[in-house]
């Protein structure tokens, strides 16, 4: 959960850094790109969290 919040803050920071002209160019298609990337990263973060919990459990089972 904390990772998700951090990620959201970070992504907004990154987008705030990028110059508005880039996001406004080519009919604002980069806004769509940013949206798709945000969803992609969100899903990857979710999978990473499960993966991490899984590894912890595996380690416990081995011990």
């Amino acid at each position: 959960m904390i990772m998700l919040v951090l990620f959201s803050l970070f992504s907004q920071w990154v987008l705030a850094q990028s110059s508005p002209s880039v996001m406004e160019s080519s009919g604002k298609i980069y806004v769509v790109l940013a949206t798709v990337i945000a969803i992609y990263i969100g899903i990857i973060v979710f999978l990473t969290i499960i993966e991490k919990k899984m590894s912890n459990l595996e380690r416990q089972i081995k011990e």
Binding site: M1, L4, V5, S8, S11, Q12, L15, P20, M23, E24, S26, G27, K28, I29, V31, V32, A34, T35, V36, A38, I39, G42, I43, F46, L47, I50, K53, M54, L57, Q60, I61
Partner: protein
């Protein structure tokens, strides 16, 4: 393979939403014209900037000004500069504004056989004042429009301000729909748990809520990104933004509640009760709040919506599969989390 068909379906639908949603071009639209105001009776030369147009390749370009349903004016001397730029002359008549109005806006219509026709409502502000009285024009309005071409190609509608971001409809809005479906299934599992007291039902409810929260947060982030470059601010206190933020608060509270028990049976039972209570209060939240705010702010600050005619046939063809795709992907993600919870449970209960 038989057990996994829905995962394949989900992946295919999302791939379809990505490919079709990004590759189908936008319809032709008019970005702006210059000048955007004129006097009655004036002869003007207008510069027209279009989006996704093919003026260079087109042969039968027509330009019209439409004041109302019986006042049309054909543009002459059309000079094409590039695929998206051209100029046209308009010879405005001396009369024509409705009921002694001093100013009225006209719609610009651009038509050619490749792109079909495109409109820009409110393109030209036509005024009548003492300067315009001095201009004596012999031009007259025509009472009907010439034959327009219709674009038969597969395109998404063009909207000013939105431009290409109209495609976000396939990636941002389905998250919200899928979130609601997932929270609903989660509530069903909570009811099942209270009836059966089987741990697997509670695990399913918990896992689904996790994915629902993921989708909710992603929905807020993608919405903020979209809002920043269309409405101008990350957060503009729009009804739907507030609603989804409150929904997130309700379900984040569910996570906090789950972590404040020592005894598993009690945790499962009480958080199931809360889950049912929370989803039911989500319903007035979805139906009451928008109605209340709409009556307070008619027009809703001019933000573009996607109801009715805005959601055209081509968009539906991508939008609905995207909803199903995101829901199935969500259930897949929840399934992973569910299997982890079950494994952990068997490991803890092993002796």
């Amino acid at each position: 393979m038989k057990r996994h068909w829905w995962k394949i379906l989900g992946a295919l639908l999302i791939a379809y939403a990505l490919i079709a949603g990004l590759l189908i071009p936008l319809n032709t639209g008019i970005l702006d014209i210059h000048p955007d105001n004129a006097l009655l009776g004036e002869k003007i030369n207008v510069q027209i900037n279009a989006y996704n147009a093919h003026f260079d390749e087109a042969n039968e370009i027509q330009v019209w000004l439409k004041l109302d349903s019986v006042h049309f004016l054909n543009g002459t001397d059309i000079k094409v500069q590039s695929n998206t730029e051209m100029t046209a002359n308009f010879d405005l008549p001396s009369i024509g504004l409705a009921n002694n109005r001093t100013s009225q806006s006209a719609t610009l219509i651009v038509d050619n056989e490749i792109d079909g026709y495109a409109l820009l409502p409110g393109a030209l502000q036509i005024s009548a004042n003492k300067d315009s009285l001095a201009l004596k024009s012999t031009a007259v309005w025509s009472n009907q429009l010439g034959q327009l071409h219709k674009n038969e190609k597969l395109t998404f509608p063009y909207r000013n301000i939105l431009y290409e971001t109209i495609r976000n409809l396939f990636y941002h809005v389905p998250l919200w729909f899928a979130m609601l479906i997932i929270f609903f299934i989660s509530m069903i599992y909570s009811i099942l748990y209270l009836r059966s007291k089987e741990k697997r039902h509670d695990h399913a409810a918990y896992a689904l809520t996790q994915v629902g929260i993921l989708y909710g947060i992603l929905g807020l982030i993608t919405g903020a990104i979209w809002a920043k470059w269309t409405w101008g601010a990350w957060w503009s206190f729009d009804v739907k933004q507030n609603m989804s933020a409150v929904a997130m608060l309700i379900y984040l509270a569910y996570m906090v509640l789950r972590s404040s028990f020592e005894d598993y049976e009690r945790e499962a039972r009480i958080s199931s009760v809360y889950n049912i209570f929370a989803f039911t209060t989500l319903i007035p939240l979805l139906f009451v709040i928008p109605r209340l705010y709409d009556s307070l702010h008619p027009g809703n600050g001019g933000n573009p919506g996607f109801g009715g005619e805005d959601l055209d046939h081509t968009m539906r063809m991508v939008f609905y599969p995207a909803i199903i795709g995101f829901t199935l992907l969500g259930i897949w993600l929840a399934n992973l989390s569910y299997r982890y919870l079950k494994l952990k449970e068997t490991w803890i209960d092993r002796d």
